[in-house]
């Protein structure tokens, strides 16, 4: 009777379910060694909200352990990686994703390094071109127009 009451009390407890947030699983349930591997892979993509830039897979905090357990459970239920990341994003926002999405201001994280490389490349190329043309000019120095010695030589040549 007591066991029945305990079970009844347990059954009455209801926590927010992933199905209400991200719908039914879109993949197939994962088990065994693959479950451990996939849990670690997905845990390395999620930021621990109570740590400084640590993934939940690397954090010893209780919060991270809870989140990791949630990742494992969702994989066991057949949720895909995209669905699991979306589940955490819906409650924590994009902050929880260690790899930011290519959208909005976050797109700058992807665009700026490429833009910086491109600008750097163009600068190097333009400098290289200048250096290439510099020795050619050096070999043919411009004659000063008002050199008296040169004028004297020209006069002598003209006389001959």
């Amino acid at each position: 009777m007591m066991a029945m009451l305990v079970l009844l009390a347990f059954l009455q407890v209801k926590v927010p379910d992933a199905a209400q947030i991200i719908g039914p699983p879109a993949g197939t349930p994962v088990t065994g060694a693959q479950l451990e591997r996939r849990t670690m892979e997905i845990s390395s993509e999620l930021r621990c909200p109570v740590c400084q830039g640590l993934a939940i897979g690397d954090s010893p905090s209780i919060m991270a352990a809870n989140m990791k357990a949630q990742v494992r459970e969702l994989l066991e239920r057949g949720y895909t990686e995209t669905q699991i990341l979306s589940y955490f994003e819906k409650s924590y926002g994009q902050f929880v994703l260690l790899k930011p999405k290519f959208q909005g201001v976050n797109a700058l994280v992807w665009i700026l390094p490429i833009a910086a490389l491109a600008i750097g490349f163009l600068l190097v190329m333009s400098k290289a071109k200048k250096l290439e043309s510099a020795p050619a000019k050096a070999s043919l120095p411009e004659e000063p127009a008002d050199d008296p010695y040169l004028a004297q030589v020209r006069e002598m040549v003209d006389k001959q």
């Binding site: 009390a9 009455q12 407890v13 209801k14 926590v15 927010p16 209400q20 947030i21 909200p49 109570v50 209780i62 919060m63 809870n66 989140m67 357990a69 949630q70 955490f88 994003e89 819906k90 409650s91 924590y92 926002g93 902050f95 600008i119 600068l123 333009s126």
Partner: protein
């Protein structure tokens, strides 16, 4: 070319300064919640002490102050008297405490020593906290009578902060 490089440099420095100023002006403990304006994730959890199950959906019609805390959290000790005093003064507002990663006997001792005026529920595996995007404790969510989250506050609340956020739930 030098002029172009200078202009590009000035633009980059201006953007960096703007981003730094915008970021430094913010409280790093406060993270915008994507749940604001969304329905509060439903749950039904067991109350510490009484064992009664409290269902969030059954509280519709009243504004709810949902406070996540734990006995191992220092700032929660500081915040507790504010919550209890306001819960006593505001009978039309439902205060609910959710404790995660904690032990029931420790919670009961805490409440016996410091008093309580509202149910404290046990989130044993932290799933409710995760669904609400709880980063650390204490964190408080303000839910309007229709069941929509209208505000989130990270850190210990003062009466002024509590009432300012509660006003959003009463609009």
């Amino acid at each position: 070319m030098n002029k172009t490089v200078l202009i590009i440099g000035v633009i980059i420095v201006a953007v960096v300064i703007f981003v730094l100023f915008a970021g430094l002006g913010k409280d790093p403990a406060i993270i915008d919640s994507p749940l604001i304006g969304k329905p509060a994730p439903p749950f039904a959890l067991k109350a510490v002490g009484s064992g009664e199950t409290i269902d969030l959906t059954a509280l519709r019609g009243k504004p709810v102050v949902l406070n996540f805390w734990a006995t191992w959290c220092g700032p929660c000790y500081e915040e507790h008297p504010t919550l209890v005093a306001n819960a006593r003064n505001l009978p039309n507002v439902q205060f609910v405490g959710v404790v995660f990663n904690d032990e029931e006997d420790k919670i009961m001792r805490f409440l016996a020593q410091r008093g309580t005026a509202y149910p404290t529920l046990l989130d044993t595996n932290g799933k409710t906290a995760i669904a609400y995007g709880v980063g650390g404790v204490p964190e408080t969510y303000f839910i309007n009578p229709a069941g929509t989250i209208v505000a989130k506050y990270a850190g210990p609340l003062s009466t002024e902060e509590l009432q300012a956020n509660l006003a959003k739930a009463l609009q």
